[in-house]
Structure formats: structure tokens, C-alpha cells
């Protein structure tokens, strides 16, 4: 079977690292990664715990396909109570760290308590120890990886760490692995920082066993062929990355612009995927150097970019002039369209800084956009910003504020609280584009109606990756639906949410679902694991996970009233594009969604629903 059957439990208060068996009954019910780690968190912690207290736990979890040759089988998730949201947090990352964890013989690591001094965890297969990180504290993610690698003498280790943002417990902080892959959302980096845990360094050489090797080869090869033959996963994503969406969403009139004041950005074509391929006049090179792949991934959607060395953001700063992790659609949107900035090189620099010091570009850009709105309306002034003229479209202001945030200085500390707390502090809550305290990603619910419901009901706060109905509503995958109507969207959102919860628990990437269905994924799991694994069972597991997360949030103090969008999206109609004149129809979709979920009119799972799902 491809679970290792072992958990590494690290008690940071006591300084202990102990092995314990995986609860296999839970594995059969929750599969792995997102589902299984959430089950452990639910069983072991108080939902009302302060996320930044020693009572909160942080789990790094793999799925059964992590570390195998299954296409995209390199994923891991960080599950904890979110520092940004106070809700369940599950941040998923690629790169090579997850596969290394599995190959070291562990399904997951549970961190509990708090160290009294900075430490990092070093794992070499069965051997795990906590080491002093005093010399690493204050260092960036990039410096930390280099220093650990050099000190250990093994260049093959894989490292996940926090930068200054996590150390400063900024609520936007991520955990970054492999220098530019991140468990990005919900403030999981702040939780890691609160535990004085600087990094996790892994070396795994044990391999991963599967139930039936020949059957597994056949199932994974079949999936690889589908991915290679599909125009999206075989050509579109490798060539243009997620950034190809910039012009699609802008033309569709659903690109949140200037803090959702507009739905189309006049500078979109300057910051999209096509622009990354353009040869610069200044140095004769393109922003995009190459694509890049995570462990066992045939898609290779990641971007490697290099900034024009003469650009003002990097001139005289050699470390930023090297090729590094480039813009994804979400980061290009948040740093660009949300703030009104159309300077591709500056946005790439800001993305590098987010990776270097470990904070989420989606939440950062959205929070800066809210600050810009407040600056322009006079709610905040140079006095609060420390002299940074936070006007929409100002590249200089964006660069100044990201550097302040990265260093934890001045108004950057206010930005680091996230949009909700920032806007509450300055008595302008309507400027915060958040649900459950988490900033929106790059799709305006007025132009893509299903995404409004997906944001409102997402268990980790506003998020596109919990139910990506954009695939259907805009891109026609698996079939085209009308983005401007609310009819049928409750069922669509539920279907995407349940399927995604299962994929997020498998160890593979949700991007495979642009080509694969659960009927293609189930045979891979069935060949890897004992048990009866079918597409129907995966849907059932996904629904179980969704309801478990929902119940955790209710127990933490959230209610159905938190399934709400900002008033702007419900009251102020889109000004241009196909959605001109439309607001979000959340009020039409939400009651139907509750009913389909088997929840009460207040959004509480009924006893029948819980019994049906064995919760």
C-alpha cells in the first residue's frame, strides 16, 4: 500500500520526535493529505484555540499517491487553524518537498506545542531531530535553504521554511518549499512562526511501495497519456502557464480591478502570459526563461522568469537578477490588476520578494488594493503610510510597500494583518474584499456567478481552489455553462467542491482535472492502495471532508452569516463588459446550495447528513 503507515509526531515544547502508526480506519474514510490531516486536527485540537498559541497544531501531510510515479504525485498540504481566518486552513504545495517526506517513510508530520527557541526539524529517513536554528532566524527563505544545504553537505535535501514574514507572524505568511513553491494561503506561515519552527529539512531514500506494481504502471501511464494528449495539459499550460488566463478573464469582464471597483483592467495585456513571452527592447530577452515542473509532473505549468537587470527594482541587486519563480495568474492579478499596476518587471520583482520572505501574493496584493482605496478616499494618509503615496497604478508605491512588508517595517506591518483587519482598523470595513477574513483571488463574482457562491462557502475563506467553477463557466471544462446566470450553480459548486476535496487528499494536483476525471484518478489509487476505490467513493470521501471542515468552522464560532460576500459585490453593479449591470446573485444560490448539501436553512449539516457521511 502507498501509505507508509507512519506519523512523525514532533512536540516542540518537549523537544521530542516520535513515530506512531497511522490510523488506517481514518485513512480509508479520509484518504490522505487534506482529508486525513484535517481529521487528525479535528480530533486533537479545540476548534476555538488561538491559531497562534501552542495549543494549535500544524500538520504537513502527504496523500497516498505522493512520492509515486502517478502524474503530479508530489503534493503535500499544511493543515492547521488558519492565522488569517480563524477557520480551517489547508494550504497545498507542489515542488519536491512532499515527495521527499513520503520517501523518508512518513505519511505526515504533526507539530504540536511551541519551542522556547528557534529550531528546525531535520529528517533523514527514520531519524528525526530538532536542531538549533538561532543562526537561521532573521534569514530569508532563500538564505535558509542555502545555509541548511551547505551545512549538511547533502545537496539533495528538500526544505520548507518561513522567511521574515512568518517569523514576524504576519497573517499573510506562507511556508515556502524549494524556494518558490508555497503553501500560500490562510496564514499557515504565521502558525509555523508562532511555534519558533524555522524550517523542515528532509532526505528520503526509502521509496514508496504500491499494492500492485504492474497495475499501478498501467493506471498511471493511462493517466499520463490523457494529460499529454489533452490540449490544455499537454500544450496550453506548459507553454503559457496559468498566466494565459489574464486576457481570458479580462475579456470576459470578470477581472477584479482596483479593489473590485472595476471588472476590466486596461493594462491586462501588458501583464499576462503572452506578455511574458515578449522580447524586451531593453536587453533583448523575454521575462519568461522557461517553464518548470514539480515532482513527477508532466504538465510543467510553473514559470521561471528573469527581470531586466536595468529595471529600477533590481538594479544593483544581483540576487534578484537571477532566474527564479515567476508570475502565476493569481499573483500577476493581485499584484497588478488589483492595484492597477501594469509593469510586468515590477510585478515579477514583487513575486520574487513574496517567495524570498514567504508571504502570499494574493492576500498581499488584495490588501494593498484596499489600502490604496482608503488612501485615495482619505481614510488613511501619508501619516499612516509613512509617506508612501498609495495611489492605484503607482508602481513605486507597490514596490515600497512590499519591501516594508517583507522587512516587517512601518505600514508594512499593517498590510501584514490582511485586508479585513486593516480595513477594520481604519474604520472602512466595506473596502475589504474578503470572505471569512481571507482575500479573494482573481475572479469577480459579478462576471462569474458561480465563483461568488464558491467564495462565500469556501471553508478556508475566499478561495478559487476549493471549487473552481471557472473551468466550466468560462473555459468550458468539462462543459460550458453561462457565467452570467445563477441557475444550476449551486449544484455545480457542490460538485467541484467535493471532487476537489478528494483530489486534494490523493497526493496529486488539482490541475490534472482539466483533463482527468475521477474515473481516471480512482484506478491509480486502487492500484496503489488496498480497498475498493471508485470514482463514486472518492465523491463520497470529498463530501465527507467538506462537511467535516464545515463542522470544524461552526465549532470554531462561524455561522451561516459568514457565508457572505462584501456588499460591493451585492450592491454595486459591474460597470463594463458582459456583466455590465449585474451584481452577484448569491442570495438566489445560497439557499439551494444549503439544501443540496443537506444543511439547515442556517447552514448547519443535519443529523441525517452527518449520519449518511459517517461523521
Amino acid at each position: 500500500m502507498s501509505w507508509t503507515g507512519k506519523i512523525l509526531r514532533v512536540n516542540l515544547s518537549k523537544g521530542t520526535c516520535e513515530s506512531e502508526p497511522l490510523n488506517m480506519e481514518w485513512a480509508k474514510q479520509y484518504l490522505g493529505q487534506r482529508g486525513l490531516a484535517t481529521k487528525y486536527l479535528v480530533e486533537e485540537t479545540d476548534p476555538k484555540v488561538d491559531p497562534l498559541s501552542p495549543g494549535n497544531k500544524m500538520i504537513m501531510a502527504t496523500g497516498p499517491l505522493t512520492g509515486t510515479i502517478a502524474p503530479t504525485g508530489g503534493r503535500y498540504s499544511v493543515v492547521t487553524k488558519g492565522a488569517l481566518t480563524g477557520a480551517i486552513a489547508c494550504s497545498n504545495s507542489g515542488g519536491f518537498f512532499g515527495a521527499e517526506l513520503k520517501n523518508a517513510g512518513w505519511d505526515m508530520i504533526i507539530f504540536e506545542g511551541k519551542s522556547d527557541k528557534p529550531v528546525y526539524l531535520n529528517v533523514v529517513n527514520e531519524k528525526a531531530e530538532l536542531l538549533d536554528a538561532g543562526h537561521l532566524w532573521g534569514k530569508s527563505v532563500w538564505e535558509t535553504e542555502d545555509m541548511i544545504r551547505e551545512s549538511g553537505g547533502d545537496n539533495d535535501v528538500r526544505i520548507a521554511s518561513i522567511g521574515k514574514a512568518g517569523e514576524n507572524q504576519l497573517l499573510l505568511a506562507c511556508i515556502v518549499n524549494d524556494k518558490d513553491r508555497a503553501a500560500g494561503r490562510s496564514g499557515v506561515g504565521a502558525v509555523m512562526g508562532s511555534k519558533n519552527l524555522k524550517a523542515v529539512c528532509l532526505r528520503g531514500t526509502l521509496g514508496v511501495k504500491v499494492r500492485d506494481g504492474m497495475e499501478f504502471m498501467q493506471a498511471t501511464n493511462a493517466a499520463r497519456k490523457i494529460l499529454a494528449d489533452n490540449a490544455v495539459t499537454g500544450e496550453g499550460l506548459p507553454t503559457y502557464g496559468t498566466q494565459v488566463l489574464m486576457n481570458v478573464i479580462n475579456e470576459s469582464g470578470a477581472l477584479p480591478t482596483r479593489n473590485s471597483g472595476d471588472v476590466q483592467f486596461e493594462g491586462a495585456s501588458k501583464i499576462g502570459g503572452e506578455a511574458m513571452h515578449e522580447i524586451r527592447k531593453s536587453d533583448g530577452k523575454a521575462n519568461l526563461v522557461s517553464n518548470s515542473a514539480c515532482f513527477s509532473c508532466p504538465i510543467s505549468c510553473a514559470r521561471i522568469s528573469q527581470i531586466d537587470p536595468e529595471h529600477f527594482t533590481v538594479k544593483g541587486k544581483p540576487k534578484y537578477q537571477k532566474p527564479s519563480g515567476g508570475l502565476e495568474y493569481e499573483s500577476a492579478w493581485s499584484l497588478g490588476a488589483a492595484t492597477g499596476v501594469d509593469d510586468l518587471e515590477a510585478l515579477t520583482y514583487c513575486n520574487f520578494v513574496c517567495n524570498e520572505q514567504g508571504f502570499d501574493p494574493i492576500s498581499f496584493g488584495s490588501t494593498v488594493a484596499a489600502a490604496m482605496e482608503m488612501y485615495e478616499s482619505g481614510k488613511i494618509t501619508d501619516k499612516e503610510t509613512g509617506g508612501i503615496a498609495l495611489k492605484f497604478g503607482s508602481t513605486e508605491a507597490l514596490v515600497q510597500i512590499i519591501e516594508a512588508t517583507a522587512m516587517g517595517e512601518g505600514f508594512g506591518l499593517d498590510i501584514g494583518m490582511g485586508s479585513k483587519r486593516l480595513c477594520d482598523k481604519y474604520d472602512n470595513p466595506e473596502a475589504s474584499m474578503t470572505v471569512k477574513g481571507q482575500e479573494f483571488p482573481a475572479y469577480d463574482p459579478r462576471g462569474i456567478q458561480g465563483m461568488g457562491l464558491a467564495y462565500a462557502t469556501s471553508n478556508r475563506g475566499a478561495c478559487h481552489l476549493r471549487g473552481y467553477t471557472v473551468a466550466s463557466e468560462v473555459l468550458g471544462i468539462p462543459e460550458k455553462t453561462d457565467p452570467l446566470v445563477t441557475d444550476g450553480k449551486a449544484g455545480l459548486v457542490k460538485a467541484f467542491q467535493d471532487a476537489t476535496a478528494a483530489v486534494d487528499s490523493s497526493g496529486t494536483c488539482v490541475f490534472t482535472t482539466f483533463a482527468l476525471t475521477l474515473d481516471d484518478i480512482a484506478p491509480q489509487i486502487a492500484a496503489a492502495c488496498e480497498g475498493d476505490w471508485t470514482a463514486d467513493k472518492l465523491v463520497e470521501i470529498g463530501e465527507r471532508i467538506w462537511n467535516m471542515e464545515r463542522q470544524y468552522n461552526l465549532d470554531a464560532g462561524f455561522t451561516g452569516k459568514d457565508d457572505m460576500l462584501p456588499k460591493r459585490l451585492l450592491k454595486d453593479a459591474a460597470k463594463t463588459g458582459p456583466a455590465k449591470g449585474l451584481t452577484s446573485g448569491l442570495d438566489k444560490m445560497l439557499p439551494e446550495y444549503y439544501e443540496l448539501r443537506g444543511w439547515s436553512a442556517d447552514g448547519v449539516p443535519s443529523d441525517d447528513t452527518k449520519n449518511r457521511l459517517a461523521l
Partner: protein, 87 residues
């Protein structure tokens, strides 16, 4: 009549030579015959039909079955992508 064509991703190379405008050269103005349909423009540009996956007129999606009968009018924006996705 004059329309604006926008060909993105791998279709950008089908913009007629010497007509490209915009920061990435993915757009061009085109003079089309009155009554021209989307399919007629796709044919004139020699676009591979199987790669004309996402077709928007002024931002509105036009289904494949409607492209032969959808008549463009002066000032329309016709944007076309091959199969793409992201997130």
C-alpha cells in the same frame, strides 16, 4: 465594416503580418464584409477550427454551433483562444 480581432496564446501567430497592434501584438483591426460571420473570419484568417475553442464576441461566449450563423457588426471585438486553463 471594421472589427477588432484578438488572437491569444498559440493563435497569436495568425494575426496578419503588418497589422498587429497592442503591447503583445495579439490584436489587429480588420475590415470585413458586411454580414461576415464568425466562421467566415476564422476561415479568412486560416485559423485551425479545432483550436478555436473559446470564442468571445464583446466578451460573450459564442458556442461552436452558433459561429456559422453569428453575424458580426461594426466595432465588434472578436477574441479567440485555443483550449486553455489556469487557476
Amino acid at each position: 465594416m471594421k472589427i477588432r480581432i484578438k488572437l491569444f496564446a498559440s493563435l497569436g501567430k495568425y494575426i496578419p503580418k503588418g497589422t498587429a497592434v497592442g503591447p503583445t501584438g495579439n490584436e489587429a483591426d480588420m475590415v470585413a464584409a458586411d454580414g461576415a460571420t464568425i466562421s467566415a473570419i476564422i476561415g479568412r484568417l486560416d485559423l485551425p477550427v479545432e483550436f478555436c475553442h473559446l470564442v468571445l464576441v464583446n466578451g460573450y461566449f459564442i458556442a461552436p454551433s452558433e459561429r456559422g450563423g453569428h453575424v458580426l457588426i461594426e466595432g465588434d471585438d472578436l477574441a479567440i483562444w485555443p483550449p486553455v486553463a489556469g487557476g
